[in-house]
């Protein structure tokens, strides 16, 4: 079936009754929320009431490929997955690449909304117009790789696309993920546990249809031109050659590398966990693109020494190398490759997995987690064998320590007590990604206000470093002067963060990869708006696109406000606010409470949010057309 790209359809699946039904997305909503992340947010706000248990049957799990996913727009294959998050109890959106999103589009669905929970383990098989809930009892307990293989075998088609969880999601680990297309992870916030709570092991899809664009020829020309511009961007080549972990040597040189649970900012031999080293030493075996991407930052590696057997897997990405490597004091290429493989197979978010382990290591070294509480493990920093064992135990919630750590650092610190909360690198219940928010001030603000907790995957502010010409030009466009391309400055950080929030939300909603719009810059708001207009046949300006992004951000804010989140929740991990950087060019830098308060005041004012509560003001909601939808929050 060839469908009009603007005639979006929602497939609802109730796992408890087996009932499925279709809805159409109001076309006006598509212009207000753009699709993907935006429509997901609206559905979640409307249909998930305040106070529900994120792991209970009332939570929804919403899969929303971007509006341009399935087209030739460059790097547009991403899907937003949205629910109320179990790690934070707040809004959770996770973006993932791979090919499942496009397959769902070709099968005829723009959104898949999972309701309730199945009595027994099940998986969903979407084969064009046919939707079937199938028995998955034989798959329960299996790793992601084996499950993926068995589903393809069972359905008799190796070309189908699958999104699935591993044992960690089944066991309710609060940082379990969903794996798409074998090697792409919807990682953060415990989204895999939500899928597990619904007894849903996998979604498999096969689509043979297509999408009809209003202005097909013009769209194709602009998509091609944007693709060319993207290939000329200074950052694209390195992303292809070394992947994201190519950033590790410069981060180390800049004294901004997260090491030893963020207590150090450099580590010896850092290049051994870099993308450059993987290439030089022959670990790298191949590269792959997500749907419609020309950058191909995704890589494959294999071990050489085979200390942990012959390991073949994807990545490891920058965050993996840091969280499972430097954060735990492990500069051992083969060990990190093995840890990454285990996390992928069990279905664990590598960022949080690394953080809970590095937190446990610090607890151990400070005498708070020893003997029985450590389940007999030697948890000193640098012990790769203990890390591997802990990954297995966490995924299975095995033993006292495995079960403790499976709930993330916030809960674990509450149980262990003492000062251990001070080195739990989390806020709102989510472990921070490996960016030093003591030195980088836009990141600090963006992480503090991030509705899902402190990470870089809702708002990426790479431009503030001014590393490339394109980045400096963007800072000039946002602030009026490229001198503000200095990450340690406080001035203009609110402008930078808000611009990136708006842009990132639009990027997600249309299905683009954030690397193309907020790290490289060819998929800029102007190009996004033109591509959307050409696809739909109705004009959307750059400004309207950015306002739609802001509308999404504000709606997400309202979801959290309805759940009771307030200004005091917009914070950073204690260490980022209280322990200054101890060495290097950033020595002495910290984002203390006064600094963060100043940043928040400016940011709330710019947004039109109440500075006391952080809740959007009624006039702001009115301006954005959200007043009716969000009338149930306690407005400022």
């Amino acid at each position: 079936m060839i469908r009009d790209i603007g005639a979006q359809r929602i497939l609802n699946v109730d796992l408890s009754t087996g009932k499925t039904w279709l809805e159409e997305v109001d076309r006006e909503d598509l212009f207000l929320f753009l699709g993907g992340r935006g429509i997901n947010a609206k559905l979640l706000y409307e249909r998930v009431p305040r106070g529900i248990d994120p792991l209970g049957p009332d939570n929804l799990l919403i899969f929303g490929p971007g509006t341009l996913t399935g087209t030739s727009a460059p790097s547009s294959g991403r899907t937003s997955v949205t629910c109320k998050g179990p790690a934070t109890g707040l809004y959770l959106k996770v973006s993932v690449g791979g090919h499942l999103g496009a397959e769902l589009k070709y099968a005829g669905y723009d959104y898949v909304v999972i309701h309730s929970a199945a009595d027994d383990p099940a998986y969903l098989w979407i084969d064009d117009g046919s939707v079937e809930i199938r028995d998955a009892r034989h798959l329960w307990g299996l790793g992601t790789r084996e499950t993926d293989r068995l589903i393809r075998e069972e359905l008799g088609d190796d070309e189908i696309e699958v999104g699935l969880i591993g044992p960690a999601g089944e066991n309710g680990v609060l940082f379990s993920c969903i794996i798409f297309s074998l090697y792409n992870s919807a990682s953060r916030g415990g989204i895999g546990a939500v899928m597990g709570s619904k007894n849903l092991k996998a979604i498999a899809a096969r689509g043979t249809g297509g999408l009809r664009l209003a202005g097909g020829e013009g769209f194709s020309k602009l998509a091609l031109r944007t693709r060319q511009e993207l290939s000329e961007d200074a950052g694209s080549d390195s992303l292809y050659r070394w992947g994201t972990s190519g950033s590790i040597p410069p981060l180390n040189e800049l004294g901004m590398l997260a090491a030893y649970n963020f207590s150090q900012v450099t580590i010896d031999d850092a290049e051994k966990i870099s993308g450059q080293y993987l290439e030089d030493e022959g670990y790298l075996t191949g590269r792959e693109s997500c749907f419609s991407c020309s950058t191909a930052c995704h890589r494959f590696v294999r071990t050489k020494e085979h200390r942990y057997g012959v390991v073949r897997d994807s990545g490891p990405e920058l965050e993996t190398m840091l969280s499972l490597g430097a954060e735990c004091g492990i500069v051992d290429t083969e060990a990190v490759i093995k840890s990454n493989q285990l996390c992928n197979d069990y279905g664990l978010d590598v960022i949080s997995a690394g953080h809970v382990i590095s937190w446990a290591m610090e607890c151990y070294e400070k005498g708070l987690l020893q003997g029985e509480r450590a389940d007999g493990l030697d948890l000193r920093f640098g012990n790769a064998e203990s890390q591997l064992e802990l990954i297995r135990r966490i995924a299975r919630r095995e033993g006292l320590l495995g079960d403790l750590l499976a709930n993330g650092t916030r809960q674990a610190a509450e149980e262990v007590g003492g000062d251990s909360w001070k080195w739990a690198i989390q806020a709102k219940g989510l472990e921070q990604s490996a960016c030093d928010t003591r030195a980088a001030k836009s990141y600090a603000l963006a992480f503090a206000v991030n509705p899902r907790g402190p990470d870089h995957l809702m708002t990426e502010c790479y431009a503030e470093f001014g590393v490339t010409e394109e980045a400096r030009a963007l800072i000039e466009k946002i602030t009026g002067d490229e001198k503000y391309a200095d990450a340690t400055m406080l001035h203009k950080r609110s402008d930078i963060v808000r611009w990136h929030e708006d842009c990132y939300a639009a990027t997600d909603a249309l299905g683009f990869c954030a690397f193309t719009s907020t790290a490289a810059y060819a998929v800029n708001p102007e190009n996004m708006a033109r591509l959307f207009s050409l696809a739909m046949g109705i004009e959307l300006s750059e400004e309207e696109l950015m306002i739609a992004g802001r509308r999404i951000v504000t709606l997400e804010r309202c979801f959290n406000a309805r759940e009771g989140a307030r200004r005091e929740d917009d914070t950073l991990p204690w260490r980022m606010m209280n322990e200054p950087v101890q060495e290097g060019a950033n020595e002495g830098l910290v984002t203390d409470k006064d600094t963060l308060d100043r940043l928040l005041d400016e940011y709330y004012e710019m947004h039109g949010w109440d500075p006391r509560s952080g809740i959007p003001l009624a006039e702001t909601l009115n301006t954005l057309g959200l007043l009716d939808l969000c009338k149930d929050i306690e407005m400022g």
């Binding site: 070394w242 190519g246 901004m256 450059q276 290439e279 490229e482 950033n586």
Partner: protein
């Protein structure tokens, strides 16, 4: 003559290699001038001579120096100047 530490990353035969050396530079040498000297003394086949300058990151004592500032950033005794092949991704840099 100021004595500085020169660090080059990614310009040798290995993408992951650092080359570090102590070097004396003429008084008044800027980050830019040293870079140009390095390029002009490199063999045409070397990456150092061929690389598009947009793909180079300049650091002085661990701090990023934007390319337009390299002209008036004078090297002092004890400085560490680093020239790196650009790499990005994941998150901040």
């Amino acid at each position: 003559m100021p004595e500085i530490t020169l660090r080059l990353f990614g310009f040798g035969s290995r993408a992951s290699g650092f080359d570090t050396e102590l070097r004396s530079v003429a008084a008044g040498t800027t980050v830019r001038k040293l870079w140009e000297e390095l390029r002009s003394s490199a063999d045409d086949t070397e990456l150092l001579a061929r690389i598009d300058e947009r793909n180079v990151v300049f650091l002085l004592n661990g701090t990023l120096i934007h390319q337009q500032e390299t002209n008036h950033t004078v090297l002092k005794d004890g400085d560490t100047v680093t020239y790196m092949v650009l790499a990005m991704g994941g998150q901040c840099y």
